[in-house]
């Protein structure tokens, strides 16, 4: 089975509780030794994890590698799952940690190369600098110019604001969930999301919205 292909997206809003219950049930079956349950869980969550990682690394190929690594780590750590819990924030937290570790590894590698006098590899930068593979039209994103401009503006945000916007505005996570995923407080996440969102709007030439208007992170 081509895991992940055609998997139903996890429901939001009113379906959120049901989706969490389904994810929890799948995770419990997976822990009990049901490989098919893992494939179903992968199909449900991997697209969203990939979406988050693509927005963070701006490189589809690297993001896919990180998704593989994330789910390998989930597999190895499945004994840490708590029965009945929603596995999604935990899996996203593992993805976030995987991204941070990879960014750190590549930053070190880039410093090592720079010390040798060689220019860094552009696509290897995961921390906000230009990545040619993330250019508009790359991969199967299929977004238009405005979307590409938004992603380019997202790329220029500080990493903390970028992850906040990627998780909340783009990934549909609640402030509390996003805070849990990156390991910060809801208050700090709210501030990061707000600042990142306003910076994005400024970068795209839009007037900032008044607080409390629809679309404002709450």
């Amino acid at each position: 089975m081509a895991a992940g292909a055609g998997g139903p997206p996890r429901g939001d809003g009113g379906d959120d509780g049901d989706a969490r219950a389904v994810d929890a049930a799948l995770m419990a079956r997976y822990c009990a030794g049901d490989a098919q349950a893992f494939r179903q869980l992968h199909a449900r969550l991997a697209p969203r994890v990939l979406g988050y990682l693509v927005r963070m690394v701006r490189d589809r190929a690297v993001a896919e590698d990180l998704v593989q690594l994330t789910f390998l780590k989930v597999h190895r750590a499945r004994g840490a799952y708590v029965r009945g819990a929603d596995p999604s924030p935990w899996i996203f937290a593992i993805a976030h940690r995987t991204f941070l570790d990879e960014a750190r590894r590549r930053r070190r590698a880039r410093v090592g190369v720079a010390e040798d006098g060689q220019p860094p590899e552009v696509a290897a930068d995961l921390t906000g600098a230009a990545a040619e593979a993330g250019a508009p039209g790359h991969g199967d994103d299929g977004r238009g110019e405005l979307t590409a401009a938004t992603l380019a503006a997202l790329e220029r945000l500080p990493p903390a604001q970028r992850e906040a916007v990627a998780l909340t505005k783009l990934g549909g996570k609640s402030i509390a969930e996003a805070a849990e995923i990156v390991g910060t407080t809801p208050g700090a996440m709210k501030v990061r999301a707000h600042r990142g969102y306003e910076a994005l709007r400024r970068a795209l030439g839009r007037a900032p919205r008044a607080a409390g208007e629809p679309g404002e992170p709450r």
């Binding site: 969490r20 997976y30 893992f38 935990w90 839009r206 709450r218």
Partner: protein
């Protein structure tokens, strides 16, 4: 934590076309197929027992109690225990015990429906406990004629205080190691803060041992000396937990 959810409103006509919220609907990227390592692992999938946080807490508490009891029996109860105000003994001992229970609970037991423990809260408790026990020792010390009084030179304070801090830290290491091992894979983020909390909690168990064993009652000994068990335990936790709680390599 609140469970507030941002509301993207791509259907809102006032929303500009390039509004970042428009991208919220795009969560359906096709992920790659499972890689070979994962596919192979799934072919030989073995059942595992999910983590049971309350049982983990019970294990850590039982080990801490066993270590403290064994060391108190081996080293003897403090000789001035009967002469000290009973309320002070109980309150101070209860504070050590409470710091252990709260810190270990936050570091090991997640909120209902969650997998990752409350590491940030545990870290905050560690900070409060570290400062609190040093300050409490400096301000709330009680002495009796049967307590041990020694020449209050700075060097002697440091020497004896370091010995007590070392004993408290030794008492903390076993439950700290067990707790870190039980957290394996559960703290992909906030591992260091979780370690601070668990370490401070286990250091507080060491502080309880010192409270029951050490008859030195000078504020400069009780504060920096016994309080250091929490500080050193927290630092040890911040080092050990991120290393020991990583997910298994295979």
């Amino acid at each position: 934590m609140t469970d507030e959810r941002p509301t993207p409103d791509p259907a809102d006509p006032a929303t500009p076309a390039a509004d970042p919220a428009d991208l919220a609907a795009d969560g359906a990227l096709s992920p790659p197929p499972l890689d070979d390592r994962l596919a192979a692992a799934l072919r030989d999938l073995t059942p595992v027992t999910p983590r049971r946080p309350w049982r983990d807490l019970a294990w850590v508490a039982a080990l801490a109690a066993a270590v403290v009891t064994a060391l108190v029996l081996a080293l003897s109860l403090r000789r001035d225990l009967d002469a000290l105000p009973r309320a002070w003994v109980i309150a101070y001992g209860g504070a050590w015990l409470g710091a252990f229970v709260v810190g270990a609970w936050l570091a090991l037991v997640p909120r209902a429906g969650h997998v990752v423990p409350r590491g940030l809260a545990a870290g905050a408790v560690a900070a409060v406990a570290a400062v609190g026990f040093v300050v409490a020792g400096l301000t709330l010390a009680r002495t009796t004629p049967r307590s041990l009084v020694y020449a209050p030179t700075a060097l002697e304070h440091l020497w004896r205080g370091a010995a007590c801090a070392g004993l408290g830290t030794i008492a903390a290491l076993a439950p700290l190691g067990l707790g870190a091992r039980l957290l394996r894979g559960a703290v992909p983020v906030t591992a260091r803060a979780t370690g601070l909390g668990l370490g401070a909690a286990c250091g507080a168990a060491g502080g309880l041992l010192l409270h029951l064993h050490c008859p030195i009652t000078h504020p400069l000994h009780l504060g920096p000396g016994h309080g250091a068990a929490v500080v050193v335990g927290a630092l040890a936790g911040a080092l050990l937990v991120p290393a020991l709680a990583k997910e298994p390599a295979s």
